[in-house]
Amino acid sequence: MQRHTITPRNNWQTSVEKLGFGFHTADVPYWNENAYYEFSLSEVNKIETATAELWGMCLEAVQYVIDHKLYAKFAIPDQAIAIIEKSWNDDVPAIYGRFDFGFDGTDLKLFEFNADTPTSLFEAGIVQWFWLQDFASHKDQFNSVHERLIDYWKYLKPYLHEGTLHFTCVKQSLEDLTTAEYMRDCAIQAGIPTKLVFIDDIGWNQEECEFVDLEDQEIKNIFKLYPWEWMVNEPFFDQLLLNPEVYWIEPAWKMILSNKAILPVLWKLYPNCPYILECYFEEENRLTDYVKKPIYSREGANISIFKNGQVVEETRGIYGKEGFICQQTFNIPRFESKTPIIGSWVIGQQPSGMGIREDDSLITGNTSCFIPHLINN
């Protein structure tokens, strides 16, 4: 793994905006093509293998949590348990997730699994693919995201309820809208009829006991870029429980897998796995060099790094009331003072590509940059 500094494409902003990438720059640049990461084929194969193996372990871990009723450890409310178990037992359609890895050139370690609302899908599947077409089209990239999404929607199509597949996200985020619309784009290409409805426009028809869109069409299948941990605390969750036949994608069992409480469970189940860092719930912690993470948090918020029991770096935020886990630290080599994190996609049960985000800080937050990559083969 190497980082190379390069000159961006002329007028790259126009190039990416033509793709529909309207959030390439916020207060600070988000998409950064002043550099790229180069991987050897053997490194990519290692990432691919780890992703496949971890996916299998994660499914085993979900079964373990359900079997042992560990919901309290996950701060999952009692009223959500039935729908979690139903979605698991019914094998409700699920499509994707993103493992975040640290890589030191030899060892690859899982930091967390974004299994419910992973973002940077569009950047990984589309923006960096077109960047490579312009930069070095003869080179390869670990990135079959687009093909896999279309193929998997085709596979899922007969398993969905007949009719429209709705897509939803919040109104106020262009990033979320782009991600949801990209996913919808892939579903359209798979031959599925689709509609977009913003999350707060979803209606509940009391007479028919069904969710409806703005045209009062029943919602039977819905891809949501909106987290379960928010939904369970909102007024319509009671209504959701009244109509458990709706396919919410990602399904409710992802409440277990997207929760950082899964990390100590994975450590307990697979202490000899080379990809899994030693990890405990805070009350059971025995580590002195560790990263303390809220079981629910986003964009690197409320994370503390401890060395010899002392905080050496931390971030602020609004999370933490549900509890914390403590995960052994793993030193990632810095490239020109940047710390890269590998986001490895699993789509339809298979490793499907990766995206690299880098940060000046050891903690990847909402000011991190997305950097393209290629394979040197």
Partner: protein
């Protein structure tokens, strides 16, 4: 090869590069909106929204009674009533705003 052989988009570039459905003879510098596809478009007077901000236009609002959140309409100083209310006879049967009310920021993770 580990990369997609071909990448085509059928929706996203069009959806995010313009702020509304095709609208013949409309001034491309203006924004026309409706909250219901059975309703008429409203020309948003005085608003020069970036195409990327068109989705800011609507805010469901309502109130709680009987233990349930009841949506009542949309906050939009530039949207007329005729564009909020369409021909759907079922419109009044649906309660809206029961998801999404507590979080309006990105789910970015």
């Amino acid at each position: 090869m580990k990369k997609s052989k071909v990448v085509n988009l059928v929706l996203i570039t069009a959806a995010l590069a313009s702020c509304s459905k095709p609208k013949p003879d409309w001034d491309s510098n203006e924004v026309y909106m409706r909250s219901d596809t059975t309703a008429n478009y409203t020309h948003t007077q005085g608003m020069h929204l970036s195409p990327f901000l068109w989705y800011y236009a609507f805010r469901p609002y309502g109130m709680y009674y009987g233990g349930t959140y009841h949506h009542s309409g949309y906050y939009s100083s530039s949207l007329s009533k005729r564009s909020n209310i369409g021909r759907s006879s079922m419109k009044g049967a649906a309660i809206r705003g029961g998801f999404g009310g507590t979080h309006s920021f990105s789910v970015s993770s």
